[in-house]
Subunit: 320 residues, 6 copies
Amino acid sequence: MRLRSTFLATDTMVRTDSRGTRYLSLKLVDKTGSVDARMWRLPAELLHGLDGPEYVHVEGHAHEYRGMLQVKVERMNVLSKDEVEEEDYLPSTEEDRITLADELVEAGRGFENTHLKELFARIVADEELWSAFCAAPAAKGMHHARIGGLLEHSVNCLRVARALAEIYPVDKDLLFFGAIFHDVGKTQELSWKEGGFGYTTPGRLQGHVVLGDRIVAAHAAQVPGFPEELALQLSHVMLSHQGEREYGSPEQPKTLEALLVNLVDNLDARAAMFLETTHNVAAGGWSHHNNPLGRALYVPDEPSEGPEANRTKGDAIAGN
Amino acid sequence: MRLRSTFLATDTMVRTDSRGTRYLSLKLVDKTGSVDARMWRLPAELLHGLDGPEYVHVEGHAHEYRGMLQVKVERMNVLSKDEVEEEDYLPSTEEDRITLADELVEAGRGFENTHLKELFARIVADEELWSAFCAAPAAKGMHHARIGGLLEHSVNCLRVARALAEIYPVDKDLLFFGAIFHDVGKTQELSWKEGGFGYTTPGRLQGHVVLGDRIVAAHAAQVPGFPEELALQLSHVMLSHQGEREYGSPEQPKTLEALLVNLVDNLDARAAMFLETTHNVAAGGWSHHNNPLGRALYVPDEPSEGPEANRTKGDAIAGN
Amino acid sequence: MRLRSTFLATDTMVRTDSRGTRYLSLKLVDKTGSVDARMWRLPAELLHGLDGPEYVHVEGHAHEYRGMLQVKVERMNVLSKDEVEEEDYLPSTEEDRITLADELVEAGRGFENTHLKELFARIVADEELWSAFCAAPAAKGMHHARIGGLLEHSVNCLRVARALAEIYPVDKDLLFFGAIFHDVGKTQELSWKEGGFGYTTPGRLQGHVVLGDRIVAAHAAQVPGFPEELALQLSHVMLSHQGEREYGSPEQPKTLEALLVNLVDNLDARAAMFLETTHNVAAGGWSHHNNPLGRALYVPDEPSEGPEANRTKGDAIAGN
Amino acid sequence: MRLRSTFLATDTMVRTDSRGTRYLSLKLVDKTGSVDARMWRLPAELLHGLDGPEYVHVEGHAHEYRGMLQVKVERMNVLSKDEVEEEDYLPSTEEDRITLADELVEAGRGFENTHLKELFARIVADEELWSAFCAAPAAKGMHHARIGGLLEHSVNCLRVARALAEIYPVDKDLLFFGAIFHDVGKTQELSWKEGGFGYTTPGRLQGHVVLGDRIVAAHAAQVPGFPEELALQLSHVMLSHQGEREYGSPEQPKTLEALLVNLVDNLDARAAMFLETTHNVAAGGWSHHNNPLGRALYVPDEPSEGPEANRTKGDAIAGN
Amino acid sequence: MRLRSTFLATDTMVRTDSRGTRYLSLKLVDKTGSVDARMWRLPAELLHGLDGPEYVHVEGHAHEYRGMLQVKVERMNVLSKDEVEEEDYLPSTEEDRITLADELVEAGRGFENTHLKELFARIVADEELWSAFCAAPAAKGMHHARIGGLLEHSVNCLRVARALAEIYPVDKDLLFFGAIFHDVGKTQELSWKEGGFGYTTPGRLQGHVVLGDRIVAAHAAQVPGFPEELALQLSHVMLSHQGEREYGSPEQPKTLEALLVNLVDNLDARAAMFLETTHNVAAGGWSHHNNPLGRALYVPDEPSEGPEANRTKGDAIAGN
Amino acid sequence: MRLRSTFLATDTMVRTDSRGTRYLSLKLVDKTGSVDARMWRLPAELLHGLDGPEYVHVEGHAHEYRGMLQVKVERMNVLSKDEVEEEDYLPSTEEDRITLADELVEAGRGFENTHLKELFARIVADEELWSAFCAAPAAKGMHHARIGGLLEHSVNCLRVARALAEIYPVDKDLLFFGAIFHDVGKTQELSWKEGGFGYTTPGRLQGHVVLGDRIVAAHAAQVPGFPEELALQLSHVMLSHQGEREYGSPEQPKTLEALLVNLVDNLDARAAMFLETTHNVAAGGWSHHNNPLGRALYVPDEPSEGPEANRTKGDAIAGN
């Protein structure tokens, strides 16, 4: 597959192959993620690699190597920082963030419980909070570590929750509210503006579980007549969504809504870890062992009958 | 609530209340589950309780006591075994088993993958296996421990899996097959015919994970041209569905389909544990601590605005 | 040791000794704790024991049996509830609560940090909170499970913290504040008014760690000009005082003050578990294995040279 | 000790010693294992080390350094691949594989149970399986990671099992069968033909425990009249030999034969880990900490009375 | 099987069967272990059971009930303590203790290492120690909890160690010494003279690992010229024989001899737990779940071909 | 802050900054600890870094970088080994060791228990032991890893213990003895003379817990009339001071004195880990994550009101 594009080049190292030839090993990063690359026949200015991350224009071929996608670079020119938009190289959701946000807002408008409905509206109306919620990553590196990742995760949780509400006798609005906002504390726990993703000091000292509980409690306190019992249940959903104490929830889920929010959160997080880890793995190939799920993952070889015939959506090839 | 019905009476004990009066404490069991009961003003023949479980006709009142439903027995007559149908007193699903089974069969008919479609058809055509699958409990006591429980669990897993197939790029047929049949080994691991639910000797020596893998592999071997790669993926789904080695899976899930089957299984099992534990708990009340989730569970007090207004279905009161 | 006193008699059981004689086994409870008792030569009205807990007047002897204190009852009369003050039989601190509370108030007055000093003063001025703080037990049953137990625990923590402030370069006021108030959430987590000690619904759904953080944050928000950084550090002390996530702290201690509060809390709790478990154990004897420390505990046999010569204070014999 | 031999040279790195002199650090590998080496006075062609593993002819001295054997290289010539037999440099058992295999076959011929005897004969007669069994390593890297390693491990397990059969009331044939074949699934779990040792895809998706159970079950199904109860016990031995669920056995050992197979397997594996880790450690020296047993291991300094006087066999010096 | 014998009757309870008839449930204990028993048609003096353990003469039948041996008592007379020898009813080894002890002494005489040989001789010559070693149980209740149990365990460990010394390059004398004496500290950790088996105060405060190390070190200090290095290795074997810190060894085994002593100890302990738990279980039956191995154990149904044909020794029926 | 001083330079690496300029990254070590450093504008002799650790004279500036102290080197001259005293560059306590030792000796002189008093005196009189005790580090790397570190730790433990003796009814002398000498086995477990800190062979095979118990027991055996019960309690304090089996104590603390020694040891060790980890961290900054406490640690930003106003002592800036 022919490739002509710009990337952020990182992790460059000069190595020697089994025939004694020097080559450059590097990572090419853009909004969609990263891919391993190799370059032989090094021009003089690349003989010693790059001095740290640089924006580059690359020509080459993408091909499969040991079951994973790899780029063979033919030409590579370093760009000046003026030539690029830095944000084009921050990992970012491939979905349309406005569409995703609208799906959430629509859900909130459909609430029957007037208290939760108003609470939802107030959160959306809090511009600083809502814009952070739509931009934040869902984690520093485990899953959905990209601009808009928290939004993606929240939408997925809502979609699964909708199916569950058809099966179990649950307070729909409370479940949906929790599915959407359980991780709202990440808007204060994480920072994502200075290039990389990191933790804030309040994030490290208090954690997103407590920060999220406070955000929701503070807005609920503004809703006139918000019932104390509902506030208590809501707080429990927020505090217990990590499921177990060792994952940072001071109490385990003890209501059905809290339990389901925890399970839905866990399900989408693990599915995302799988998908992100196998992003560049070809059919029949194995990922590296060292990933958030702690085991090598397998992308099945398509059985004979019509490859991808009933695979529902998405592809596993990094493009640009 | 006035109550006139027949039950299996178990766990009878004579106790003395705080005013020094003797009373009978017992459990009343029927198809729908069990409820705690108390009887004062004991007739002579009940002064020393019952000698083991007995079928009884009871008159009394159901009322709430410390947040849980309890029956105050006013009259109780022991029935002879000839007067009852034993199976009426085995816990059993409240759903219609034929309807549930049809939902599964219909799903199998919709498969696009012809190999999996034929495999599914052969399993349904194996009368002994299929009828066991529709009758077996899903566990000895943790969740869905009732006639038809395995069927209920399989249907719920399929329903959640359908929602996931809309979200993640998954092999739908493989996911649905796993969602439905991951626990098929329980038809050989558990016994449910001699009154109670228990483990068979093969169940204890091999476990339902391996037994289920064998059942599916044996039927797949009968399907002409069943692809080896598909058989391998299918076997992996069966073997890894417990998710972690310490829960009895010799390998962790390493394909997306295997991972989702594990997560869906876990989700429905935990939801069921919650619902079964809180079956008799009134709004605002707490369950006993000693249940499969290992913590007291809370059934929220309805907030002021229209009780149950948006609760989706089901009730939490034992009836007959 | 001759004994004539009133108690709450609980756990009465009729047993038969090795010579075939019937006797009554029971526990005698008063403010100071409980002691095992036996009664032979049962009068007619006690032949079948008591119907639940009763207030009794007892005459008998306290003696040592298998290394633990036991009472041999000679006479026992049941009292009517009118004859007793119920609170005399609720386990309660032996210390003077006013003196203990004064020690804390005095410490707060000595703060150099004006913000923390005012915060402390506001908490003391919040009559409902402060009187709850001076009355609450420190736990349902692990340690300091008695009226005033939280106060005792807080005073001990302060005293140890004072020694640490001489050794480590610490923010004294913050350390002392945390030593005193880390468990203030127990005033909302526990209930102690209806006879026994138990958990409230907010206590079970949110836990004392988060409840305490909220109490302190709410009062700090009332102090004009309370620095944000100080509020953050304070919140961290409250949230992390359990030390590890599996003990209910959403974050581990990451400042020196938070670390020391956690260690002091743990130290006093474990010392109290030891002392309460060995309350009735004689020198050279062993406690039961089944206690909060999870092992049998030993009260050393005094070596020959002057028993108790340098034992600092306290005794280990239940009196009345 | 003078050394003149050919090796596979791996892990070459150019370093600088404490006097500022450059030297080459490398590993010398042959059939018997590997040894650390150093080379000073580098000729021009080695100034930058080697470009990956190369076959070399080495002259130098083996000596002890910090308690471990090390080679000081004086001359080193790179060989062309035509000059060597690749298999001479794959780690391989030092025992005679035919003799070992005969010991097993002889054991099988001595079985009294005619069903197990025939099953054993069929496995030996399955040429593909049996030759794989005699060639496979017992693990990728933990212990017996060498050609013939599985055979060595099986023979050792049989030998220990023979002693146990004299002590405990056990079904000898079943115990010996399990001791020999518990790891037969490794013939399908591992690959050892393309130079290194690795996992196959079925190995990662199903694991050697289930693969081995299937191999044995498939062969037993070919033995006419093989008793179902015996097949069940045999399957249990295969499935439970890892001892605990977290080590990959779906059920724990529940028969005496299964328990002993598990314990014998564990014993030989750990002894092998010890011996392989201390292969190059001199008397009185310590191994590296980083080995399969997770701790530094000690090879005792011989006490004064006749070194090695009663050490039974083997030596700990790598030769060629 | 007709039964006429004397026992210690314990755990007597009056119960009511499913037809409402009262019966006595009890345990019958003698030197060989214990068996469950039931008695119907109670004579007047047994209507309320026994007041604690009593020596009894029993007539009845032993039969199988739910896969376990049970005695149906027809007559039972209480004996006076003068009629019995108390020690006849303390669980005790069925082996001849003198023969077992001789096997150990003979092993010690065969040592080649003169230091260990003399150390061994001194331990045997220490009459108080040696007679305690030959009488002590190996544990309070886990395995070999019987008079002579420590001796039996030591002999078994020696026998397995002999097989290992043929396989691994080990210091034979050190291995055999450790196999025999690793648990010698149990002579001071346990008490077995006052009827039951229990822990001493030094046993609880120091544990048998340290106590055993001290015993051996004290005797080695008496051997002139005992090498320091040998004393260190010996001490390491004693201290590390529990294998892991959480089992009470302050260090893990780091020499081959220490590792093998740990593995042999573990092997015999687990085999004994199996055998003792299944003592009364019939072929094809399951033990109770509640035993030291923490799982129900299975005694296989003999396959058709000649039951017990190749079972090596022992039987599983309690006799007298 | 201008800096002119001599150090041991370690961990030198040549790196390239983001503008492509080469610089040297290194660590500067002296008695007081270590600090990260960077040097640009490399003179010819430093272009390839240093060949291992070298003593150097440095001129430069200390400044804060990402919240941690860092040195920017301007000039650096390598010194010959003759020019330096090696011990000046071994990390060492900043306290006066004689003053610290006197504080302990004084405490021993104040004992009321004559047996413990004499035991203490004998330990101090054992010149080899006492001088080792005053020189040893308290650990290889976790905390107090410096000459005199064991002494510092012992003094701190004594100081905390004094406060506890005012609060709990404890045997003061036994508590103080344990607080001072619980780690005395480290004098034999660790080596600190050949430049770095390491483990001895007895240290690895027996551990400081058992070694310390032996040292104290051997000296107590020299004290005429030392009571056996006191020796037992003392031994228990020594053996159990690690608190849990998994930390190397063969028994958990079961007396109050043993429990408090364990808690005090733990408290000072953790406080030291905190202080040593944050040594170079500026106010408002975070330490590296990789330290003995296993989490990044925070040095609070001073709130507005008078920085350090009530911070008790010490500073966090490395000087010379």
